[in-house]
Structure formats: C-alpha cells, structure tokens
Assembly symmetry: C2
C-alpha cells in the first residue's frame, strides 16, 4: 500500500531521471567517477549547466561527491540508479 505522499515523492524521483542532461550525466558516471569540468566537456555543455544539474542529482542522492585535489569527483550514489535505468531500458526494448 502506497500513501498519497509517497506517490508525490516517487514522481519527484522519476522527474530527476526524466531529463536528458541528467540521465546523460548518470550514464557518464556509470563507468567511472569524474569531475564537473570533465563531465561538461564530455557532454559538450557548460560547466554551469552541469553543476546546476549535479546539484539536483546530489539532492536526490543519485550521485555523491568527493574532493580530489582541486577537483570534485562525482560518482553514482548506489546501485538503484543502475537498476532503475536498466528497467527503463527493458521497457523500451519491447
């Protein structure tokens, strides 16, 4: 049984996955952790745009950050990210 409030939280969570920039960031981080600027270069977007989206991903506990010298390395927070993406892919494959 799901409560009304939980459904809103669920929608919020999926909304985070429902943006191409964010999901490309998540995909980029699937292989290895990366710093903000490298992600920006990799996705051919500005540092600012990536930083804004990383904040949302971090708020929703989909990525985590750790400092490495001057840079901050981002990586996937846990395996749910992969699982949720995989389920989505399975749905699309039909």
């Amino acid at each position: 049984m799901i409560h009304e409030e939980e459904l809103y939280d669920l929608a919020e969570l999926f909304k985070v996955f429902g943006d191409s920039t964010r999901i490309r960031i998540l995909y980029t981080l699937m292989d290895n952790e990366m710093c903000v600027n490298d992600i920006a270069v990799s996705l051919n977007m500005t540092q600012s745009a990536i930083s804004h989206q990383l904040r949302i991903l971090k708020q929703n506990k989909l990525v985590k950050a750790s400092r490495d010298g001057k840079s901050i390395l981002y990586s996937l927070a846990d395996d749910h990210v992969r699982t949720i993406i995989d389920q989505g892919r399975e749905h699309l494959e039909e």
Copy 2:
C-alpha cells in the same frame, strides 16, 4: 553500451513517470482496470485532465485501453510499470 539516442528515449520514459498525476493514475490502475471518469472521480480531477494524461501514458505504452459498453477501461500495459515503480520506492526507502 547505450547509444546517445537511447538516453533521450530513456529520459522521455522517465519523464512520463515524473508527474504526480500520471503516477497516481498508474497507481490507481494497479489494483484493477478503470474507466476515465472513475479515475477522474477517484483522483478528484477533471475528466479532461485525466484524458490528456492517459493519452501520454498510452503513447508510451504504459497503459492500454479496451472498450466496455459506453466506457473505455484503462489498465496497466505490462509488468514493467510495477517494476519501475517498485525500484523507485526502494530508492526512497533508504
């Protein structure tokens, strides 16, 4: 390996789940199939708003429709809907 285009499709799919009205509709349909008006009453929304959202859900193959007398019954298209929602819930539970 995921292609760029597939990532856009994934974002589109999750965008569908990322709206509270749509996810409430999906949740409502988890128990049993329902007609448009009953969904509207159940969620305390207009028939039009529900119909608009059902169209998006149908386009993305998350629900399917079948006629029953004057009404049209909607139901979940397949088990991926449940699985994706369940994965989202698991993430939230932490």
